[in-house]
Amino acid sequence: MRKLYYWLDDRTGALGALKAFREARVPGRACPCRAMPFLLVFAFLAQGITGLFMLMYYSPGAQSAWESVHHLQYDVTGGWILRAAHHYGGQAFLVLAGLYLVGMVLRGAYRAPREFVFWTAVLLVLVSLGSLLTGDLLAWDQNSQSSTLVRTKFLALLPGVGAGLFKLAAGGPDFGHLTLTRFLALHTIVMAGALAVLLALRAWFARRAAAMVQDEVRFFRPFWPTQFLINVGVCVLFLVVIGALVASHGVAGPERGVELGAPADATDFYAAARPEWAFMGLYGFSNLFPGELKLLPIFVIPGIVVVLLFLMPFIARLGVLGHALNVLVLLGLLAADAGLSWMVVVEDRANEHQQAALAEGRRDAERARELIALRGGIPVEGALTLLQEDPKAQGPKLFRQHCASCHAFVGGTDEDIPASEVSSPNLFGYGTRAWIAGWLDPDKIKSDDRFGKTAFRNGKMAQFVKDTFSDLEKEDEEERDLMVAALSAEAALPAQADLDKKDSERIAEGRDLLADCTDCHKYRKGGSLGTAPELTGYGSRDWTLAILANPAHPRFYGDRNDRMPIYAPTADDAKNVLSRRELELLTDWLRGQWVEP
């Protein structure tokens, strides 16, 4: 046995190293306050380990990055824990590095001969910021893509080289596949490698500095085992904190772990994009400056701050005053960062625009999840196409863009879309009995929810409704309800299918009554086109598609069409305002026709 030992030591020097470890000393009593460097190494290793396992699931690529993260988050056992642990672990590393730096300054431990120890600490903070920045993009959800895009575009501020730098970072003129492959290489190799080197250098410099002051300190205690035990204890505590963060959104349900937003759209911009908390202060700071001077808050002033940090050990040579100055500057910076971050949070909370964009982003994320579950997987074109082809996701966007300048979509739900200036009917509940009933109600038809703001306010229809349906008797009311049921059944809304089936007899009766309308409207065999919209198939998919395409067609309003744009006058998408696909999405959304789990 002994022989084996010596052989091993002879060849590897292992015993010597072990001995050195056992005899390592710390100045003074064992104390948790000395655990920070150890903890930094531990946190780094933890990131390396979780990162490695995440890498086994990651696929960089504009149509596969988000998808692979989604898979890890929702399909892989424990995947959400892995992802959350790496997410919070990375931020915690930054916090630890920051605390280490601040602690060093407060204790005065950055002064000679520990300059190099301090400088590596500064670099540790900077590189971990870089690591967060490059890692954030990899999830490739709306926020990570758009906020990284803004940050990367800031490179363009640098005179002369900026535009080229942006292309190099993005891997081309736009964000896409190559941005992801680049950022992945930077994050997993360059940043992680730099951190490893810095941690090793820090240990080396700290040793040299300790050797220099060895004789000044009177009491040295062994590192092993007491200090080591304390260090490990601190690491366990750190793990507990990370565990609590991982579980902070619950341990069950789709919200657990770290949020994954809707898949990024490289051709669009997420309006609610905001940087991660670590950059929030800088974001707030840059907002204080006018556009022409952006170079200052984003490159010049942060650059000066970094230089100032590097100079601190020399400033400290000026004596107590110098040290006090350093402490003051550092605390001031921290306070400013916290204050500015807080300011951004407060402003955003009060900002309707921001809140609406956030809510839409969340809805898209949830819908993407739903659609993937319904399909049983993600098609090869990526998850974004699932969303882009979904009426529930696209309807509100198209409506806001093309319809909401005149029409409202307001029914007291959180999906309400108010009109910017109501001048046409409220389309909430389109085709339903409640909605149809509004047309046959003498009060409602003249309200802003129907014809109130249109040229038809005092038209024949309004007059007819007033004459026919004012102060109804009980049985007349019943007749009107039959007409409503029959007309609404023309729409064949999916949500009303059961109701329509149940009431088929009443609907048949109502159909007979609708014959009264054929003086103006064409309905089934009666009446003719050209005076008022056709009632056959009123609100059905075909009918709706056709009226959206061309409301001025004789089948609808003809030449009496009031301001409703003609979205698709020809059969050729290229010549129309809205494509066939967009009209279908709008129609299906208005009619509540989409897949639901």
């Binding site: 190099l168 003129p173 596949h177 051709t267 907002n287 952006k294 900002n351």
Partner: protein
């Protein structure tokens, strides 16, 4: 004692010569230079391909049909339209995809003005804010009027919104715009290559 194994190459010959071994300045220099050069070879090989994105051009500078004249409200309210073209992301080709957007606004019966949607500040997409009757960039809250002029006392944007100067109405109805993108962040307007 065992003899050390023989080296097939030099046969472990003892160094000959008088006095201590001399390290010539030249060999030091040569060693360093060669070492650096050797490392530089893989680095350069890598860098050449890493710099490739500098050569890749964006899709600006061409005329695209954006929409038809009827799609533009007569009252001059701006509308946002996508520019549809084949988009290429490294190796993937996306046929008929939005590659960008423009705001179009009618300024006369057959006169149309076009503005880029990309914010001159840092590249967010600007929204039209109907309530305020102007444009708003959601990222850092820069406001612009209908002509794209900055309206904030202290704007986040270094310049007014970028106009796309060349707009053509062909066949009396089709709106064509020469699509261009501009560098963000600069007070001057620099067309992106």
């Amino acid at each position: 004692m065992k003899k050390p194994p023989q080296c097939a190459c030099c046969g472990n010959k003892p160094a000959v010569g008088r006095g201590p071994y001399r390290r010539g300045f030249l060999s030091k220099l040569l060693a360093l230079a060669l070492g650096a050069l050797a490392l530089a070879v893989p680095a350069v090989v890598g860098l050449i391909s890493a710099l490739n994105p500098l050569r890749v051009k964006g899709q600006g500078g061409r005329f695209f049909r954006v929409t038809s004249l009827d799609a533009l409200p007569e009252d001059g309210t701006p509308r946002r339209f996508p520019i549809i073209a084949d988009r290429k992301d490294a190796w993937t080709l996306f046929p008929n995809q939005p590659i960008g957007s423009v705001f179009l606004r009618r300024t006369g019966p057959s006169e149309v003005k076009a503005l880029a949607v990309i914010c001159p500040h840092a590249g967010c997409f600007i929204d039209f804010d109907a309530k305020a009757g102007g444009f708003l960039c959601p990222c850092h809250m820069a406001h612009f009027d209908l002509d794209g002029k900055r309206t904030d006392e202290q704007s986040q944007s270094p310049r007014d919104m970028d106009p796309l100067e060349e707009v053509e109405i062909r066949d009396k109805r089709d709106v064509y715009v020469k699509f261009q993108r501009f560098q963000t962040g600069t007070p001057q307007r620099i067309v992106e290559a």
